[in-house]
């Protein structure tokens, strides 16, 4: 029920975006009776609410929805399954009792400070955007330099434009989406500049958001200076060499009043860290077992807090699974401990989950470090799969059947992506 906050739950889900709603549904499907979602925004739905473009739900609902529609459908399911949803609140801490049960401290203007008991907790806090400070662009500190997500909120939630003449640094999906959004609102989009030799966004977004709207994409180029006192006046852009060092002699200035940054996302794991949960340096998210359980027993994680996903449909699949295991655990169902560790090998940035069990089927989520085509994914000596291409911007999913793992003897399973036919490519797929 919306707004209902009781004292005791089987599963408490921190975060009411797509991951949180998926986890809550998964927990209910596994038979957990009492499930609570806590969300910090006035309305649950997470970042989906500001994503008014379409393209959501193609995999999960088999139809094309906007972000708010996708969120609305899930919220309806969640409420229908009698999950409690409390918005406009803040989880200020989680304590673990000696018997393993959790106490979640919740603050809100409506209910004050409340402590909620939970047998399982699912972390679904999502991610935040990298900022100017993270890449240290020198120059002035005028207004008009902001992350693409903040610009999206201004345009789609507040009916405001972040400016009229826009440069976009970084080719992450939000930046690409905002290039199109601002063109539709009549802004000039001077170009998208990407330091790497390939884009960081989905190919479909490059085509639909840049190519179709005549927005130029400049690869191997970055912003090297920000000019302006009160408001941004121009940026300097410079090409970079193969080691990403800018060639300042070949710089040029682009007049603009707005610089959007779409330079990556960072899972928001401050709460996880306060619990002492072990993180993976490559994903910046928790290390998880095949049941999406973190190093803290009874605490699970899924969605962008675990690793940054390309598509919300994948978040949903992962979080339904995490919620299911959290629900089972809350009911005292034990599964044998995972005994196989996944190890990222050649051209593999990360593999989630971090541990596997031969007991059942798994989906491995991974990203390559650099583009390659054609190529093969090799999982130990158990499995090989040919792929037409891989690019860092697109997450790779690989199903592993239990009968394959049963043959496995060791305790660590290495995953490599190797060229097929010997030729490596550095194109943008």
């Amino acid at each position: 029920m919306l707004g209902r906050l009781e004292k005791d739950y089987d599963v408490v889900v921190v975060g009411g975006g797509p991951a949180g709603m998926g986890a809550a549904l998964g927990a209910r499907e596994a038979g957990a009776e009492k499930v609570l979602i806590l969300d910090r925004e006035p309305d649950p739905g997470g970042i989906l609410l500001q994503c008014i473009h379409s393209g959501f739900g193609l995999h999960y609902f088999k139809e094309e929805l906007s972000g708010p529609e996708y969120a609305e459908r899930f919220l309806a399911k969640v409420v229908d399954r009698d999950v409690d949803v409390v918005a406009d609140c803040y989880v200020s801490g989680i304590a673990v009792d000696s018997d393993g049960s959790k106490r979640v401290r919740v603050m809100s203007a409506k209910d004050g400070v409340r402590t909620v008991q939970a047998r399982s907790v699912v972390l679904c806090m999502g991610c935040r955007e990298r900022t100017r400070g993270a890449i240290r662009i020198p120059g002035g500190r005028p207004s008009g330099v902001l992350t693409a997500g903040l610009a999206q909120k201004l345009v789609n939630m507040k009916g405001q434009l972040p400016g009229r003449r826009v440069v976009i640094l970084g080719s992450g999906d939000i930046g690409l989406i905002m290039a199109r959004r601002l063109r539709l609102e009549g802004c000039e989009v001077m170009g998208v500049y990407e330091i790497l030799p390939y884009t960081n966004g989905l190919t479909r977004n490059v085509v639909q958001c840049l190519d179709d709207f005549g927005v130029p994409l400049h690869l191997s180029t970055t912003v090297t200076y920000i000019h302006g006192r009160d408001r941004l006046e121009k940026v300097t852009v410079s090409p970079v060499d193969e080691r990403l060092r800018p060639d300042l002699k070949r710089s040029k200035d682009i007049p603009c009043d707005t610089l959007l940054l779409s330079i990556g996302l960072i899972p928001e794991n401050e709460l996880s860290q306060s619990l002492g949960i072990q993180l993976d340096a490559a994903t910046a998210g928790p290390q998880v077992s095949s049941t999406m359980e973190t190093s803290m027993p009874g605490v699970f994680a899924c969605g962008n807090v675990l690793h940054v996903h390309d598509l919300v449909d994948f978040v949903t699949n992962e979080s339904l699974l995490a919620g299911r295991f959290a629900g089972e655990k809350a009911q005292g169902i034990r599964r044998p401990a995972d005994n196989i560790r996944t190890v990222p090998g050649d051209n593999v940035g990360y593999v989630v989950p971090h541990r596997l069990s031969p007991e059942r089927e798994h989906t491995l989520y991974m990203r390559c470090k650099k583009a390659m085509k054609p190529c093969r994914i090799r999982v130990g000596n158990l499995l090989e799969k040919k792929l037409r291409f891989v690019v860092p911007a697109e997450m790779i999913m690989l199903k592993i059947k239990p009968d394959i793992l049963e043959k496995f003897q060791g305790d660590s399973l290495r995953v490599d992506i190797v060229p097929d036919g010997g030729k490596e490519s550095n194109g943008n797929g």
């Binding site: 803040y90 409506k110 400070v113 120059g139 207004s143 009160d230």
Partner: protein
């Protein structure tokens, strides 16, 4: 259980706000410039039956060198005793405890260490200790490497000796200035913002200051204009000194590094600068910097690739685990250094016009002592000082929710539910605090940020910007798009109704 930090309820009291759209007027004293020096003087004068106005060119006070400062209250051993700044530095330091008790700004005496990296520097360190002792700096001690490593285990093992000064402290300089002006205003000082002085004339009864808000007639004008102080003096034909801005770049590191050092860490000072430091700021972040580069441009607040390289290669010698990758933000400020390289404080050949110029480091430390000195000068120049009976020294601050215990937090939420709504998640800033900032004079997004820390954390305002703008828009009764970052032309958004049409042929 509630402590002194928690006695305010920002809902209950309306505080004086800057006068907007009113004509000039007639005053005893006009202070030109609302940096920490101008604000300290305003507060000192507010004890007396005087008509005082502070004229600030920006949208809020403290938006110049005060905001972009290292935030250090120096112990006082650095400046030689035979300079103007020398004695003011020591005196200033001593005045902070009482000010802090009255005005509740972020301040903590954490102590400082000046470190010697090689044996050959030890005599200089000893000289610094003697200089400090002669000036009356308390508690100076030499520490051998063993003690240094025990107290500050993250410092380089190559450090051969360190001088401890326990009375040095860290401060949020903008909070200090905000508290000073707020208290001054509560005691009758008038503040005019967006009010640059464009010209000054001598008149029969003093001076006439021309501004966009009209003419201010005053018996005395105090030139506290920071990097613009020489331009203000030029308006009366005086070219006795020149301000040569010296830029300093600072790099703020992720809060994860909290506790890396407990004290301020200084290298041995050079002629132009106290060197590049490791600063455990009042709010718990580690800041490294500043550089010291002369610039001609008084608006040049740019950070440079060169500055970052310099800062990080230097601080790594002091504290090897610091890396550039931990940077969450960076900024630069201009020290209003004069060509005499000392403070210029005193009357001029134009009657009523008093310079308080060239106040670079240790100007923040010295500010309270400078205010005392300026009062003495005004008295010598014939202004009569009569104490007010109803002077209220105390200005309660807004509680910083994140710094309170869980019990205190719960107590506050019960008093005012807006403490239960988190606006800035990275720094745990609540809605009540943002409203409190507006009550206490914030008019811009930076005004909110520097009073509450909303937007100072990891996400750098990604999540809270629109929420803070909503509150400002409502409270100042201004449309959303009129809210600025820091006043002037620093607009943040434009309404969607009137977009500029795109070029017909696209932007290729």
């Amino acid at each position: 259980m509630p402590n002194s930090k928690m006695k305010t309820n920002p809902k209950t009291k309306t505080r004086p706000q800057p006068a907007v759209g009113q004509p000039g007027g007639r005053f005893d004293v006009a202070i030109i410039g609302g940096g920490v020096v101008g604000c300290a003087i305003a507060r000192a004068l507010s004890r007396f039956r005087l008509k005082t106005v502070l004229l600030e060119r920006n949208e809020e006070v403290a938006f110049g060198a005060t905001k972009t400062n290292s935030g250090i209250v120096h112990a006082g051993h650095n400046a030689p005793a035979n300079t103007v700044k020398g004695p003011l530095e020591v005196r200033g330091n001593k005045l902070f405890d009482e000010l802090h008790k009255d005005l509740h700004f972020g301040f903590r005496r954490c102590g400082e260490l000046v470190v010697a990296m090689e044996e050959a520097q030890i005599p200089d360190l000893e000289k610094l200790k003697r200089q400090g002792e002669e000036k009356g700096v308390a508690g100076l001690e030499m520490w051998a490497p063993e003690r240094i490593q025990r107290e500050e285990p993250n410092l380089s093992t190559k450090i051969v000796m360190a001088l401890l000064a326990p009375t040095a402290g860290v401060i949020n300089p903008y909070e200090f200035a905000f508290a000073l002006i707020e208290n001054a205003m509560a005691n009758g000082v008038e503040l005019r913002v967006n009010c640059p002085v464009a010209g000054i004339e001598q008149a029969a009864q003093g001076l006439r200051l021309k501004t966009p808000q009209g003419v201010f007639e005053t018996r005395f004008a105090l030139n506290c204009a920071g990097v613009f102080a020489d331009e203000i003096a030029h308006m009366l034909g005086m070219k006795d000194f020149r301000i040569i801005p010296r830029k300093g770049e600072e790099y703020m590191l992720d809060k994860r590094l909290q506790g890396l050092v407990r004290r301020l860490i200084f290298p041995l000072p050079t002629k132009t600068s106290k060197g590049i430091l490791v600063i455990p700021t009042f709010d718990g972040t580690i800041m490294v910097g500043p550089t010291a580069e002369t610039t001609e441009d008084r608006y040049d607040w740019d950070t440079t690739p060169f500055g970052a390289e310099k800062v990080f290669s230097f601080v790594r010698q002091l504290c090897p685990s610091i890396t550039e990758r931990d940077t969450i933000t960076e900024f630069a400020g201009l020290r209003p250094a004069s060509d005499t390289d000392d403070f210029i404080i005193g009357p001029t050949r134009v009657k009523g016009f008093i310079n308080v110029a060239g106040i670079q480091s240790p100007g923040l430390t010295a500010a309270p002592a400078i205010a005392e000195r300026v009062c003495d000068i005004l008295r010598d120049e014939g202004l009569s000082f009569e104490e007010k009976d109803d002077f209220e020294a105390h200005t309660p601050g807004t509680p910083h929710f994140a710094a309170l215990s869980p019990e205190e937090q719960e107590f506050l939420i019960k008093q005012d539910p807006r403490y239960g709504r988190v606006v800035c998640r990275c720094e745990l800033v609540t809605e009540a605090e943002v409203h409190g900032a507006v009550d206490h004079g914030a008019r811009t997004l930076d005004g909110i940020k520097f009073r509450t820390r909303a937007g100072m954390g990891r996400c750098q305002g990604g999540f809270c910007t629109t929420r803070c703008m909503d509150i400002l828009s409502k409270r100042l009764d201004k449309p959303f798009h009129e809210i600025t970052k820091r006043g002037g032309g620093s607009w943040i958004s434009v309404p969607m109704e009137a977009p500029v049409p795109a070029k017909p042929e696209g932007v290729r």
